[in-house]
């Protein structure tokens, strides 16, 4: 019930192409879905997040698509650049009863490489 499944494990995309990373969850109580970007030797950094009241959220070249009925969400990186090469983690949590969100459940990560 607490798992978040992420695919693919690794991804190689040509510069300028679209990178797509998929996640699926089981717990229908989850209502917060962030994506984190992690460069080698650094901590994860929040990239973009979505709540299930919308089906899509776009910030610059990054878009989250959310399918509540299928319990799936995905990250799309448009016009992928070599600087986007990093590991990406999806995550999910549910709203806490008194403040904030409850603990995040992370996907297994996708190592993205953008080649020139």
């Amino acid at each position: 019930q607490q798992q978040v499944k992420q695919s693919p494990q690794s991804l190689i995309v040509q510069k300028g192409g679209i990178s797509i990373i998929n996640c699926a969850y089981e717990n229908t109580a989850f209502d917060y879905f962030p994506w984190y970007q992690q460069f080698p030797g650094k901590g994860p950094a929040l990239l973009i997040a979505i709540r299930p009241d919308v089906s899509e959220k776009k910030e610059g070249r990054f878009t989250i698509s959310f399918n509540k009925s299928a319990k799936q969400f995905s990250l799309h990186i448009m016009d992928s650049q070599p600087g986007d090469s990093a590991t990406y983690f999806c995550a999910a949590s549910r709203s806490g009863w008194n403040f904030g969100n409850e603990k995040l459940t992370f996907g297994t990560g996708t190592r993205l490489t953008i080649i020139p």
């Binding site: 994860p44 997040a49 403040f99 603990k103 992370f106 297994t108």
Partner: protein, 116 residues
């Protein structure tokens, strides 16, 4: 966002010894979290540390092995006790802070621990 620092950034330790990792946040936060990230793996939550109360540990993690202190709203420590090579990991602290109308987790840069 949140500015989070961790000390040390990395360390190499001998089996059987203990290491205390410090986490400092730029302003007061209620919830702080400690994660472990083994090489090439996802993030695993060790415990949640709220100021003024005992830390809450996740399944598989115990206070004797990973004692946590939370003396105030901007600081926490995690001790890795009686270390073995299996404890070699990156240890990350994170905090939850309101951002854009929702509560978001921000991560520190991590402490890379190698146990010989």
């Amino acid at each position: 966002s949140a500015v989070i620092s961790q000390k040390p950034s990395r360390d190499i330790c001998q089996r059987g010894t203990s290491l205390t990792i410090q986490c400092q946040v730029d302003s007061q936060v209620t919830m702080m979290f400690w994660y472990r990230q083994q090489p090439g793996q996802s993030l695993t939550l060790i415990a949640t540390a709220n100021q003024g109360s005992e830390a809450t540990y996740e399944s598989g993690f115990v206070i004797d092995k990973f004692p946590i202190s939370r003396p105030n709203l901007t600081f926490s420590t995690l001790t890795v006790s009686n270390m073995s090579p299996e404890d070699s990991s990156i240890y990350l602290c994170s905090v939850e802070r309101a951002s854009g109308g929702t509560d978001t987790q921000y991560f520190g840069p991590g402490t890379r621990l190698t146990v010989l």
